[in-house]
Assembly symmetry: C2
Homo-oligomer: 320 residues x 2
């Protein structure tokens, strides 16, 4: 632990961290320190650049509040959030793909009935969202909790208004026994990520635009099923193929239609001609998720030329 | 930019970031994103672990102020600071080694005369610090600016006292024409890194102790010479070989002696028997530093199997 050089310091940090009792934490720090050090060695990071980076991370922390999650936004814009979602929630061909949670999910949305209008927004173009939830065998799933949230017609989420006095553009629904759920929303519009923070400044420096294609967020949860964090993107948005947070997937792009049937308009209490978003969500079981996750973990660890053990469902290195 | 998977997302993030005009920034982000993504893939980072990490970084930012640099402390405890110092300030055998700046350097220290007592601390054991500064040819260097800072006899820096009303335990000196400088300090004691923040909690989780061996910090600057950020550690500290911030180097450990000569005691205005710390600092020229830095950068980039170009003294990838 003395006479540390650019070459031997990594092994020394590993040695001191190996005192950690939790093997999963030990493994995470071993990889974290190796990559952090290799990053510095490969870039020959200068003291000025290092300080710029630390100041930037400090600023991201300082501007954060419970309602402004700038660190999530940073992770989103570096592609880390999309990656972690795809690692933690592996999908089969049959099940709905996940995407980034984003920085605008809150924990204060209210439970509401199907048919609820989630927005107060008087300027939005009305949109009826009518969906089903099934398992991978095609059986309808009732009692699924569905947390939905969406920006308004001006491209702002409720948390972006300083005068916010409670949730708006949000709601927590439950699917009926036939697997259906529905609510009234507004037609999503594209919007920039918050432009008054360090992450926007980073995008500017990188020559990237800040505009996300319009979408509606969904978080579906039911016991024995893997939680599904996802979003639906109406087709044709100009930012569809350059999303700054890497959230768009082809399978999550939807073609909007209209409510043309008068019976249907009556049933869902909307005007004829109202825009309509329909989607069939498919949840994958917890059991299948654990199996898929383990298979993919084994592949990844093997690719590193190492072998793994399982620790509470997550990999640790096999040290034998 | 659609249908991103755990495998192709990294290339897609590189593609969008390649719009950046500055080749050095482009290179840094290419390496940053590659390592960040490999870290997630190799650990199979879970959503819960990812959120724990983001919340931790947010907390490190939130607790930070101009006088409390928790993000530097995080970098210190992961060995990154020591590594960046050794990359940015390569040393030859002749020149004094650098070490971590640490989180307690401030920008409000006052310029003082040689002989100044930097502490008000009435409880400290008096220490005379008497040093020289030379170039690698052995020529004395006058007019070197030397920023010194040190904790007090209770193991606290001035910035750790809530009632702080100005700098204490700090001073900015200048070497005389014969290369000497001297000041009155207190015998350094070991002390824990701040125990009320997220970085301390991280060390606890890792089973690591928080105690730094006692030391005095020095930051030496002179035109045409590479700045030297270093510290001196009196030999025999119980934490000498397990410094939580990886700052100790054998060449920076010093044997304290005592002022025994009555003439010397009179000259430096200290009592006979006062503890004495002496050291001969050797600065390396800017020119030699640039040369060494470039050689080591070329080696490192070659090790990655790539080739480099020079951009304002720092490496970028040769894309031809």
């Amino acid at each position: 632990m003395k006479d540390l050089t650019t070459e031997n310091i990594t092994e020394n940090v590993h040695a001191i961290n190996s005192q950690c009792q939790n093997p999963r934490t030990r493994y995470i720090f071993e990889r974290l320190v190796s990559h952090l050090h290799d990053f510095a060695r490969e870039t020959r990071l200068s003291t000025d650049e290092w300080m710029t980076g630390l100041d930037f991370l400090t600023d991201v922390g300082t501007i954060s509040t419970d309602l402004r999650r700038e660190m999530i936004l940073l992770s989103d814009t570096l592609g880390l959030s999309a990656l972690v979602d795809s690692i933690d929630h592996p999908r089969t061909g049959k099940s709905t793909e996940g995407t980034v949670l984003g920085p605008f999910h809150t924990h204060d949305a209210k439970e509401v009935e199907n048919g609820y209008a989630i927005h107060k927004d008087p300027d939005g173009t009305p949109l009826l969202v009518l969906c089903t939830v099934k398992d991978t065998e095609g059986n309808p799933l009732g009692g699924v909790q569905i947390d939905v949230w969406e920006g308004d017609s001006h491209g702002n989420y409720d948390v972006q208004y300083p005068e916010r006095d409670g949730p708006d553009g949000r709601g927590i629904l439950f699917s009926e026994q036939d697997g259906t759920f529905w609510f009234k929303a507004v037609k999503p519009v594209s919007y920039p990520i918050p432009m008054d923070g360090p992450v926007f400044n980073m995008l500017q420096m990188l020559g990237r635009h800040p505009n996300r294609p319009g979408h509606v967020h969904f978080l579906l949860r039911k016991d024995s099923f893997d939680p599904l964090i996802t979003a639906l993107y109406p087709r044709g948005d100009p930012y569809e193929s350059s999303d700054p947070v890497f959230g768009v997937k082809e399978s999550l792009i939807v073609d909007l239609s209209e409510v043309t049937d008068p019976e249907m308009a009556k049933k869902y209490d909307v005007k004829e001609g109202t825009s309509l978003l329909t989607y069939d969500f498919v949840l994958v079981s917890t059991r299948e998720t654990l199996k898929l996750r383990k298979e993919k973990a084994e592949e990844a660890i093997k690719k590193m030329g190492r072998s793994m053990e399982d620790f509470q469902g997550l990999p640790i290195l096999d040290v034998d």
